[in-house]
């Protein structure tokens, strides 16, 4: 088992990083009174861990016995029926799904499943009717229609069904939904907290950690705990006992983006643009999301540029990312950004050095 999963806190008491939030969540559910919740925070900050721990707190160990199901829905939409397929994770008391996987038809799923859940409510041992929990992932990727259709459904079925929504950026969740939920912001763990967790894992695994080693991993992890633990494990596989100056392997794709950045700094010509296109395609075919590529590219370029150019480049990065979101083919916009950069940089070189 990967350490990421092995040392994932199972209960709210075991949480190391977000102790204050865990404490609040515990208070929240002990009163048997759970509002709709909206968790938001950057990736690797522990949203999912907290949600699972919360479910366990509410429903006991039964919440961990989940089954993966590939369910199909037949939805009657007026003149035609729509067949939808979606993978769900469910236990007796909760259902988890990422409705955004079905693309633009996500709203049917959202409406269907909540109505379905509201119809058959679980009865606990005392004969009381409890509520079910629906965990929706990636709410920020839901279409506007689906989000709108959540609004009233949330109110209507609030006695029988609680929603836990999980997303990266709450800007993309419409105001109407945010105002109906208790918003829980999960901040990314600080580097000290990551070090603490790494030391904890090291102790459990009986490893010798040279001083400063954990801190270096934490620094490289970009405040993502998941990434820190993964690269910690990679280091362990590569070389043990650790040496204090052991190299921490960077991600392949980050290396690759860095290479692209140096390429376009070195030469600005159509020929180079063509070569870069090949590299960008390589990244995209390896399923690196285009906006991440663009962000990383900007990061690499900003490291190498003079201060006066930074403003302009970051403006264009924002511009092309926006265009990318509106358009269909990411490669055009990535390439446009590279071309734009080349022209600006070339112009800058000519005016400075003649």
């Amino acid at each position: 088992m990967l350490w990421v999963d092995k040392y994932r806190p199972k209960t709210l008491d075991q949480v190391i990083v977000h102790q204050d939030i865990a404490l609040n969540l515990k208070k929240l559910v002990t009163e048997q009174d759970c509002p709709h919740l909206l968790f938001y925070g950057s990736s690797g900050s522990g949203k999912k861990t907290l949600i699972m721990a919360l479910l366990r707190q509410v429903f006991g160990p039964g919440a961990e016995k989940v089954k993966v199901e590939n369910r199909t829905w037949k939805i009657d939409a007026g003149s035609r029926t729509i067949d939808l397929e979606l993978t769900t994770l469910s236990s007796a008391n909760h259902v988890e799904l990422s409705p955004s996987d079905v693309g633009f038809q996500d709203r049917y799923i959202v409406q269907e499943i909540i109505k379905e859940m509201a119809k058959n409510r679980p009865i606990d041992t005392k004969g009381k009717r409890g509520y079910k929990v629906l965990v929706l992932n990636e709410v920020d990727k839901l279409s506007r229609e689906a989000q709108h259709s959540l609004r009233r459904t949330m109110e209507k079925y609030s006695t029988s069904c609680r929603l836990i929504l999980c997303c990266n950026s709450s800007s993309k969740v419409i105001e109407a939904i945010r105002s109906r939920c208790l918003n829980v912001r999960i901040n990314a763990p600080t580097e000290e907290q990551i070090v603490k967790v790494l030391e904890f894992i090291g102790k459990k695994e009986g490893l010798q950690l040279p001083s400063g080693f954990a801190a270096r991993i934490a620094e490289k992890s970009n405040r993502s705990l998941r990434r820190a633990i993964l690269s910690f494990e990679t280091c362990r596989v590569q070389q043990y006992p650790f040496t204090s100056n052991q190299a921490i392997p960077p991600m392949d794709w980050e290396e690759y983006v860095s290479e692209i950045a140096s390429d376009i700094m070195k030469e600005q010509s159509p020929k180079r643009l063509f070569q870069v296109r090949g590299k960008l395609y390589e990244l995209l075919t390896n399923c690196i999301p285009p906006e991440i590529v663009l962000k990383r590219l900007l990061y690499e370029l900003l490291k190498r540029l003079d201060a006066e150019l930074k403003h302009e480049i970051c403006h264009w990065a924002a511009y092309y990312e926006h265009r990318m979101r509106l358009g269909q083919k990411a490669i055009f916009h990535l390439e446009a950004f590279v071309a734009k950069f080349m022209s600006i940089y070339k112009g800058f070189l000519i005016t400075t050095f003649g």
Binding site: D33, G78, R151, T159, C181, N187, H311
Partner: protein, 342 residues
């Protein structure tokens, strides 16, 4: 009902006014509607106004008061954006319901029960234009037996032919006093302790949206128990602490791009919602006295553009960085000689 259900009820639902006369602060609307209750004469209606001020509440209350619990199911059709409301539904479901004839006026159990049905279309501004067009004729044909209530946030998204067929009511944003009195009422009912500072914080962070205020209040109660301070409310509402905004601003003033970049990275890692941050930056900029009008204009222009991009789904980090860079250019009076427009 099981005791558990009682406690798990949302306060928003629990304290929803049941009668038209209880609706706070919307005097004109209430006057017209009470008149309706007496005469049972009712035009098509269009309610519009910002969220959380009682539009849906009013519509539901009048329907309940007209028909009472028994007839309510057969006389009122409530459709909102969570139901499918394409043109097909308008052509079939709404038309079918509208076409049903009803008996003549007879008072039943103290309710007026006028001889028509009511169709409530909540969140009507999210209906497609086609669907709205399909309603036009339906409204007129069946006007003898059916009344339509449209509820929406933006009246400009209702097509003119529909709007002209309705009596329009603008719901006013709730003033601070009304909101305070309503909140205090809930506090009394629930046995909460809320000091004056917390109360003013609550009305500031909810910005006139009573539903939001009540949700925050309930959230804070669940987390922090029955005495609530203004800090508790801020942490529940997700408002960004002022010092975070200040820090970003100071970084921009310094004119050092890397410093601003670091600050932006920190904000993103903390998970603050950028759309909210933009509006808070806006507040700071507009109120700042040491910034010239021209600088303000430059900054606001970028804020507006970034907001639009965020709505389109653009990346938060890049947009915020872009805003920070432009704020820096404006504050340090660096020229925007670069041609950004092309």
């Amino acid at each position: 009902m099981a005791p558990m259900l009682q406690s798990s009820q949302q306060w928003v639902e629990k304290y929803r006014p049941r009668q038209v006369k209880d609706v706070a602060h919307q005097d004109e609307v209430v006057r017209v509607l009470t008149n309706t209750l007496e005469t049972t004469n009712c035009p098509h209606m269009l309610f519009y106004g910002p969220p959380g001020i009682g539009k849906t509440t009013t519509a539901l209350a009048i329907a309940h008061q007209l028909f009472g619990p028994e007839l309510y199911k057969s006389r009122v059709l409530e459709l909102n954006a969570s139901d499918d409301r394409g043109i097909n539904v308008v052509r079939t479901k709404i038309k079918d319901f509208a076409a049903i004839a009803v008996g003549s006026a007879q008072r039943q159990g103290g309710y007026p029960c006028p001889p028509y049905k009511i169709i409530i279309l909540d969140e009507a501004d999210s209906m497609t234009e086609d669907a709205q067009n399909a309603l036009r004729r339906t409204m007129e044909t069946y006007s003898k037996v059916t009344r339509f209530f449209f509820i929406c946030n933006y009246i400009s998204r209702i097509i003119e032919p529909l709007a002209s067929r309705c009596a329009k009511f603008r719901f006013k944003p709730i003033t601070e006093e009304i909101m305070s009195s309503r909140i205090l009422h809930i506090c009394k009912e629930e046995g909460l302790n809320l000091d004056a500072e917390a109360l003013s914080t609550l009305s500031y962070i909810s910005q006139g949206d009573l539903r939001r205020a009540i949700t925050y209040l309930q959230g804070a109660t669940r987390l922090f128990g029955s005495s609530i301070s203004s800090n508790d409310l801020i942490s529940v509402s997700g408002v960004i602490p002022q010092d975070v905004v200040e820090a970003l601003f100071t970084a921009c003033r310094s004119g050092d791009f890397d410093l601003a970049n670091k600050e932006v990275n920190k904000i993103i890692a903390e998970g603050y919602p950028v759309s909210l941050l933009l509006s808070q930056i806006f507040d700071v900029v507009v109120e700042a006295e040491d910034i010239s009008d021209e600088q303000k204009a430059r900054i606001c222009k970028r804020l507006a553009e970034a907001d639009k991009c965020l709505v389109d789904g653009a990346d938060e980090y890049l947009q915020l960085l872009n805003v920070a860079s432009h704020v820096m250019l404006a504050l340090c009076n660096m020229p925007e000689e670069l041609n950004y427009e092309s």
